[in-house]
């Protein structure tokens, strides 16, 4: 059987060549797929305060403007961000040492003062949160930062998919009528996870 060694050599050569072509083609194909793929992002929004309303809405609206496919899953306190009326959103400086406490009015030297009010004092003053919220809203306005409602509208316009967590809707005694009609879907973890699996970016906020 003199032909056997030749066949082995030919097989090895074919295999080597196929591997070469395959790896080259695969790289080209992957690059092509990557270039043509619409980027996607999923976000879990879990916070229901004025300050924490910003990260999910800023990122989602901007991604929408970039042409990405975006879904935001609002769960627990994050459901507050889907309510028809957002004017109840508040900020709490209590136990938040990272929050500068500065006045949004008055002369420059006055605005520059950081009011270090101890937690114990904040806690016993009635209406302290409302007071801080008013100041924060003024600061937001003074700095040309968008209102939460404006950013949420931009998300809707940009085709961002707003999803409510049904379990927390029930848990907190909400009904779907409490939320804006743009929320098309109410679902649970089993719906969110497959979406997150296929997304390029997934964030928990």
């Amino acid at each position: 059987m003199g032909a056997t060694p030749d066949t082995d050599v030919i097989d090895a050569l074919i295999r080597q060549r196929v591997d070469e072509i395959l790896s080259q083609k695969l790289e080209e194909k992957l690059a092509e797929l990557k270039a043509n793929k619409t980027p996607s992002m999923t976000i879990i929004a879990t916070k229901g305060t004025l300050d924490w309303a910003y990260p999910p809405f800023i990122l989602a609206s901007t991604a929408g403007a970039l042409g990405w496919d975006v879904s935001v899953f609002f769960t627990f306190y994050g459901l507050q961000l889907l309510r028809k009326d957002l004017s109840d959103l508040k900020i709490s400086p209590l136990g938040n040492p990272g929050m500068p406490m500065k006045m949004p009015f008055g002369p420059g030297w006055f605005k520059g003062i950081n009011w270090n009010i101890p937690n114990a004092v904040q806690a016993i003053i009635p209406g302290f949160e409302s007071f801080a919220t008013t100041l924060m809203k003024q600061t937001i306005h003074n700095n040309g930062v968008a209102g939460v409602e404006e950013l949420r509208d931009a998300c809707v316009e940009g085709g961002v998919n707003l999803i409510g967590c049904q379990m927390t809707v029930d848990l907190f005694g909400f009904t779907h009528e409490d939320f804006i009609p743009e929320v098309k879907e109410y679902c649970g973890a089993a719906t969110f996870l497959p979406m997150a699996k296929d997304a390029d970016v997934t964030l928990f906020i």
């Binding site: 800023i58 609206s61 901007t62 403007a65 970039l66 040309g144 968008a146 404006e150």
Partner: protein, 75 residues
């Protein structure tokens, strides 16, 4: 530089200049040029990234004192 539409984004902060640019471009036709005037220093980098992602062409990005002027040609 000639342009077809102008967007005044002065006084607005991130991400509003980008969101408003996107909105303005939506109403324009392919090849038309949008001029954007902004005061947000962050918009310089953001406008580059926005154009790169969306395929619109950033024709120029110039700083004039405390304002930033961009010309974007719609894809």
């Amino acid at each position: 530089m000639d342009f077809d539409k102008e967007l005044d984004a002065r006084g607005l902060n991130c991400p509003l200049p980008i969101l408003k640019s996107k909105k303005s471009l939506t109403d324009m036709s392919s090849g038309q040029v949008l001029k954007i005037v902004s005061t947000d220093p962050g918009s310089v980098k953001d406008m580059q990234a926005f154009c790169k992602q969306t395929g619109n062409e950033l024709l120029s990005s110039v700083e004039e004192g405390k304002t930033y002027v961009f010309f974007v040609r719609k894809k």
